[in-house]
């Protein structure tokens, strides 16, 4: 960070800042030099921070009314929906908030994939981001169990049973997770405790994620290194703050639209039936944001194999900075990678679609092909492309392409 040393104006400010440099920190955050060409795909970091805060605040309120007990959990959720003042609103915001959170995180991740934001010197930011993503999935899963409906119960059963695939100790691990011989009250209470804890762990990781970001500074759509501060950067406040807020308002309009008009569109009707350990619903599927992984799990015709491949599909992302051998960050200058990027996006959407359907016939076949392609993309295409691809020459600065275009149009006149 090549900023000038900050000295507070007031005497008290100087006294305080020399003891706890909070003013220096806030000055750094507002003055933080940001590439001036950031587009709207870069606004999702701020949106995600907002989502986390919404989930923590609404969750805190719901915890004041929710009862974590198999005999009362389902009823207490209905009590929130019917009796508690604005309980319906708070719960719908919390439940749909998780979907909006994942929507934003997927856009955020694919933005990083497109513009090569995970590459040197930003590997640690990427890895922390992946840890946040994994924690988000764990948190969302445990939260989904709390209403104790049929989907809650069977999601808990199926997901915890994934661990029974571990050789030798699998059964003991599952019993330990359950605190019994099936998903029951001990499972519910511990999931509640952990569901409350996880968001704060995520919050801590978000602080590290932003800290790690502020060392090299933001990547940008052109993907070249910038001098900071320089003519190519603008201070975070007010330029990026205003842009982020504008994007956030658009995001909130969609969020509010779902909460007020179709609050149950992303949930399953079966979860309004109280959990029954004797009957499995005929068609159980996870929430939409986990569907691609569910499709990968079912694509492998072996229990242990399926579980291993599913976890591998997640952890392979951690190694992406080293699997991608290309020196060029942005896909704008990588004509082939750009094509493969969109194929990967399509592949993940196909996996999501397959995950929502029963594992039979054509669905199973397509699911298997899409699973294989997913791994081929990361293990073969990414490393080979770095050596084979003919990239487009990079501009000298982020102003250069814009200015030379202008110069050209002016000279044409």
């Amino acid at each position: 960070m090549s900023e000038k040393k900050f000295i507070p104006k007031s005497k008290f400010g100087q006294w305080f800042d020399s003891r706890l440099p909070l003013l220096t920190l806030s000055h750094h955050l507002s003055d933080y030099p940001t590439p001036k060409n950031l587009n709207y795909w870069w606004t999702f970091g701020g949106i995600l921070t907002f989502c986390l805060i919404v989930q923590i605040v609404t969750g805190l309120v719901l915890a004041m009314h929710y009862v974590a007990h198999v005999d009362h959990a389902f009823e207490s959720v209905e009590h929130i929906m019917r009796d508690v003042n604005y309980g319906w609103l708070i719960r719908y915001v919390h439940a749909n908030g998780s979907s909006m959170f994942f929507l934003a995180v997927y856009i955020h991740i694919f933005r990083a994939l497109f513009y090569g934001s995970y590459k040197s010197p930003r590997e640690i930011i990427w890895i922390i981001g992946m840890l946040i993503y994994i924690l988000m999935m764990v948190t969302a899963f445990m939260g989904y169990v709390l209403p104790w409906g049929q989907m809650s119960f069977w999601a808990a059963t199926v997901i915890t049973n994934l661990f029974s695939a571990i050789p030798l100790i699998g059964e003991n691990v599952v019993t330990w997770l359950w605190g019994g011989y099936a998903v029951d009250n001990p499972t519910l209470t511990r999931f509640y405790s952990l569901h409350y804890l996880m968001p704060f762990l995520i919050f801590g990781l978000v602080v590290l994620h932003i800290w790690a970001l502020h060392i090299p500074g933001n990547n940008n759509p052109v993907g070249i290194d910038l001098k900071k501060p320089s003519k190519d950067t603008v201070p975070f406040s007010p330029y990026i703050v205003v842009k982020d807020l504008y994007a956030l308002i658009i995001f909130l309009i969609i969020f509010a639209g779902i909460v007020f008009f179709v609050p149950n569109i992303l949930s399953h009707p079966d979860n309004y039936i109280k959990a029954n350990p004797m009957v499995t619903p005929t068609h159980i599927v996870p929430e939409w944001y986990l569907l691609p992984f569910y499709a990968i799990l079912r694509a492998v015709p072996s229990k242990l194999g399926g579980v291993v491949v599913m976890f591998a599909s997640l952890f392979i992302l951690m190694f992406l900075p080293w699997l991608d051998t290309s020196k060029i960050r942005s896909a704008v200058f990588r004509p082939l990678y750009k094509v493969f990027f969109w194929i990967l996006v399509t592949d993940v959407i196909i996996l999501g679609y397959i995950g929502a359907n029963p594992p039979e016939g054509l669905y199973l076949l397509v699911g298997r092909i899409a699973t294989i392609y997913y791994f081929v993309h990361f293990i073969l295409i990414m490393p080979i492309l770095g050596f084979k691809e003919k990239t487009i020459p990079l501009p000298i600065s982020i102003s250069d392409p814009v200015l030379s275009n202008q110069a050209r149009t002016i000279s044409k006149r």
């Binding site: 997770l177 019994g180 001990p186 004797m278 159980i284 229990k303 039979e360």
Partner: protein, 203 residues
């Protein structure tokens, strides 16, 4: 309780072995170094010993925090269930809850028993004779939890007229053996006994 004490005792014994070995190694070094008049190595032993003791201390205090998640005494106390089977008709299944899991008790028909007994073991993914899975050929008692990921299979369904799991498509035969699909093993047989002709005690 007992297992935790065993673990604790093992850790302490290992600690002493470790301390003794490190003493032997470190004192060798001290002798070597005495020629060069370096005596700082004695302190290394103290460091290693303190770290080891610290690690054991952390391990011992973390164990209760981990073990508290295992089934508690009240859960273990519900380990047996008695079921009256006098009203079950031929070709019908009743489902009872045992340790929070459904248990299928089926009075099988002649054809089902014949089907189950005539299957060749080579055809099975998890080879087991039907006779090993029942105490009386007529009565099939098994845990109604799919061995894949724990869903409850549906009765009288699937390619083998036994059970079919709707979650990920596992087919079981009339003896509850896995025949097709992702489940790795046959449906589990719980420990049970016939108390008399009309009562089964599970667990």
């Amino acid at each position: 309780m007992n297992s935790s004490y065993t673990i604790l005792a093992t850790i302490i014994v290992l600690l002493f072995v470790f301390l003794y070995l490190s003493w032997v190694i470190v004192s060798n070094k001290i002798i070597d170094n005495e020629n060069n008049k370096k005596i700082g190595k004695r302190r290394d032993f103290l460091f290693t010993a303190s770290y080891a003791l610290g690690a054991v201390g952390v391990g011992v205090s973390v164990w209760p925090l981990i073990d508290q998640m295992n089934p508690d005494a009240s859960v273990k106390a519900l380990a047996t269930t008695e079921v009256d089977i006098s009203k079950v008709e031929q070709g019908k299944t009743i489902t009872v809850l045992w340790r929070g899991k459904p248990v299928f008790i089926r009075k099988r028909t002649k054809e089902e028993i014949n089907d189950a007994q005539s299957v060749k073991l080579e055809e099975l993914k998890d080879p087991q004779k039907d006779q090993e899975r029942v105490k009386k050929a007529e009565w099939l008692v098994m845990v109604g939890v799919c061995t894949h990921l724990g869903c409850v299979p549906l009765g009288n369904k699937g390619d083998f007229n036994g059970w079919f799991c709707p979650c990920h498509g596992s087919h079981y035969d009339t003896s509850g053996r896995i025949r097709k699909g992702p489940a790795p093993t046959n449906l589990e047989i719980p420990r049970y006994e016939f108390v008399d002709n009309n009562t089964i005690k599970i667990g």
